[in-house]
Subunit: 159 residues, 2 copies
């Protein structure tokens, strides 16, 4: 699960061709940026980084690449309430763990947490099974977010 990373061919090459997509410089750079950051990047932030690496890359390619990465389930898109999409690798290489989010409704800060994840995921998979049966829905992934006020935003208030 980890040793395929040091092949000459990057681990995602097979995935791309499996979906009928070509491997291009722009796509490699965008994916590389996501692999290299822990943060939840916006399309523009990715564009700036990509553009710094190779100024030939345009915004359009960033969006289009993100779309196919999402389709291939390599990337998740989130909405944290700040008016722009936020992109993050699904659990992938780098030992990135599956996690959920705490979102501050005041300052939009996002905290990843992995505590309680095992229990949550266990319940989710049971729920998934039930829902799949009852609604004949083919579930591919889930989203869990808690909203509230982070420490900085609720200190100094009474309620």
């Amino acid at each position: 699960m980890l040793e395929r990373h040091r092949r000459g061919q990057s681990w995602w090459h097979g995935k791309f061709s499996g979906y009928g997509y070509k491997i291009t410089a722009g796509r490699e750079i965008v994916l590389g940026i996501l692999v290299g950051s822990e943060k939840h990047l916006s399309a523009e932030e990715i564009y700036i980084k990509a553009h710094a690496i190779n100024p030939a890359i345009g915004m359009t390619t960033v969006y289009r690449t993100l779309d196919i990465l999402i389709e291939m389930r390599l990337v998740n898109k989130f909405d944290f309430g700040d008016g722009r999409g936020r992109y993050e690798l699904t659990e992938g290489p780098k030992g990135l763990r599956h996690h959920h989010h705490l979102v501050c409704t005041s300052c939009n800060r996002v905290i990843d947490y992995t505590d309680f994840i095992d229990e949550e995921v266990e319940l989710l998979s049971r729920t998934e099974k039930g829902l799949t049966g009852k609604y004949n829905f083919k579930i591919s992934h889930h989203l869990i977010q808690f909203y509230g006020l982070c420490d900085k935003c609720h200190s100094g208030r009474e309620n």
Copy 2:
């Protein structure tokens, strides 16, 4: 918990003034529309209904009213991936039950489900407690969505 609904004063009047907001015709109509629909309405859909009731109501008021309803935790805003916000009453009058969503990534259909909710909510409240302690985060609400393909969208495909 239910008897206050048949007062002359609507049940939400206290809530508005408690937050320092005035009660206006536009706000009453917007809230009334949300109370009267099961669907997850977009701002524009609400605007159209509101405008039909009272043509003086503008789009701006719809957005502004939704903002304060969210602030008062009477309404939740969702993102189902179709590029526009979707608004729905939180559990309120009408015996509206707390529920979660199944979102079809192909046709954007949304199914509310309440099955398994009790178990989920029980786990969530334990998780909440843990997260509140560890991250000093004041949690006010949560979001759970499952994504996948609805029956219509995955019939006739192999994977």
